[in-house]
Amino acid sequence: MTVPPAAYVLLSTLLFVLGALGVLLRRTALIVFMSIELMLNSVNLAFLSFARMHADLSGQLVAFFVLVVAAVEVVVGLAILVDIFRTRDTVDVDEVDLLRG
């Protein structure tokens, strides 16, 4: 039995929504961060599914780019996170509000 491509797209959508909800609802920076990763990878999944459906390699290509960018972003993001924890003793995103007008 083959899984229809639409199912992959649906799964991707579900994962994206989960990720978005995680970003919006969770306050721990680390969890927010993981949610962002989840969103990125759900998009990757969508890219791959569409590449398969349209028999077009460019979707896979973009997925690689996303992977690379996500890896880089993790490095930078985690470094920032560690620094915030050191200086402010918290990783609660609601308490990091230096930019409040």
Binding site: A20, V23, L24, V32, V93, D94, D97, G101
Partner: protein, 618 residues
Amino acid sequence: MGLVVPWIIGLPLAGWILNGLWGGRLGHRPVGWIACSAVLGAFILGGWEVLALLRAPADAAVVVRLWEWIASGDFRIEAALRLDRLSALMVLVVTGVGFLIHVYSVGYMHGEEGYSRYFAYLNLFVASMLLLVLANNLLVLFVGWELVGLCSYLLIGFWFEREEAARAGRKAFVVNRIGDAAFVLGVCLLFVLFGTLNFEEMARRVRAVPSGQLAMATLLLFVGATGKSAQLPLYVWLPDAMEGPTPVSALIHAATMVTAGVFLVARLWPLFAALDILPNIVAAVGAITALFAATVAVTQVDLKRILAYSTISQIGYMFLGLGAGSATSGLFHLTTHAFFKALLFLSAGSVMHALSGVIDVRRLGGLGRAMPLTTASFLVGACALSGIPPFAGFFSKEHILESAYHAGLIHLWLVGVVTAGLTALYITRAAILAFGDPPADPHAHPHEAPPVMAWPMIVLLILSAAGGFLGAQALGDPFHQYLAPLFEKKTVPPARGLDGLVLGAVSVAAAAAGIVVAWAVYRGRRDPDLGAVGVFLRRQWYIEDLYRAVVVAPAEAVARFCAGVVDLRWIDGVLNGLAAWIARIGTGVRRWQSGYVRQYAAVFLVGTVLAVSYWLFR
């Protein structure tokens, strides 16, 4: 020969650059050496050129085309220099007298703060004046004209920490600016008329242009000349210019500034002579200014101011000579005046130097024994100024009065004779009050000037005493022979014979009468009160007050209105109002910036969803 001409300007200019950029680090001696040798070099080059010109035909001119300065359609101006007998004479006067004043300044400004700045300005002043006299067209002349104005501003306000000095510098600049505005208009009009600003070409085509417009343009230029040469009605800056260091006054009066207007009229003589009315206007303005300034000089108590009014008066004589059709006599007086007025100023400077700045003649007196050289210099200068034969001023003033008489300007001649008497009167008064006995302050211990200041005075003393023989008729009037070919068709040759002798006797008698009256009135350093007349004269016939009421006060009121109402209320009001509004909007908008990352993300998400759905479902 042509290669040398730019260097006449280039040497003082190089001195200016050297002293201006590195003078502060050089120390006093090198600065003085650079400045003096630059001007001396220019003088030597100028002398070299004059020798060459004397061998050439009389109307020969060296024109050096440096580069094409402006080329815009038909408007083509060359940066070109012109050396003929007229500009060569001016070069010699400017650099010769200028050099002596430079040397004198080495002593006078010794130990002064801003020593190198002073000499840099002085060199630039000389270079500007040289550019002015060597210009081949009106626009190049105008560059020198403006630079001279700038330098006078810088040097009059040299001690700018003093409010009066700064104000005097500003006044000189602004009053000159009024004249310069007319000058620029005149230049524009001349270009429209002639299609060129080259002196030679304008002179050649002068018959071909409509006379009304030519008169207009020439009169505008003459207004510029009255500004630069401190004639009525724009004389007011010169008396105040005494706030500068005394050698600067000497330079302005003798060499580099006030003679510019006389030179301009002489240079444009073909244009002025084209219409009968113009020379008469020039002569009338000159004669009236001469009389006016001489009467004011009688009542002044500041020695330098007396000399300043005397300069205004003498420049008036020069214009009278020019207007009477004898450009050579005006230029001869310019030359001798440069000698004796520089001498008088350097003597006055020597007095100030000796008495640490006292210049009020009521506080002087009794200087004769302590300062024999200075006293002798002042007396020789005074004699030359009064026109006592055989001193220099006698010959030149004689030429002017004679040519005025022979040109049929009898009433102006009369004014000139009266002025000659007044001239003798005020300078004798100044000499008595400043140098005569008894001293106002018996405890003062004046000392004679140091050698570096004495030598220039001695040279000028000799020139003032003997320089007049350049124009002596007994010697064939070499000065006239030298310059006359340039003005040949327009110049009335000074008449010879009995008539001339009688006229000479009349003006010498006037001068003698002036001296006698001064001796009778001021003997023993008395300075009697002249009552209402004295007040009238001391206040410059109320001209200064008139200007203050009619021009300065309204201008200040307008300025105050602009500063207080237009700027503070209107412009600042609009700007501050705008800024307040923006601040208010910002206060409102800042609430959106909550600082909650999750809120931003939510807004971001909603926005993305909306945008995407717009593109999907439109």
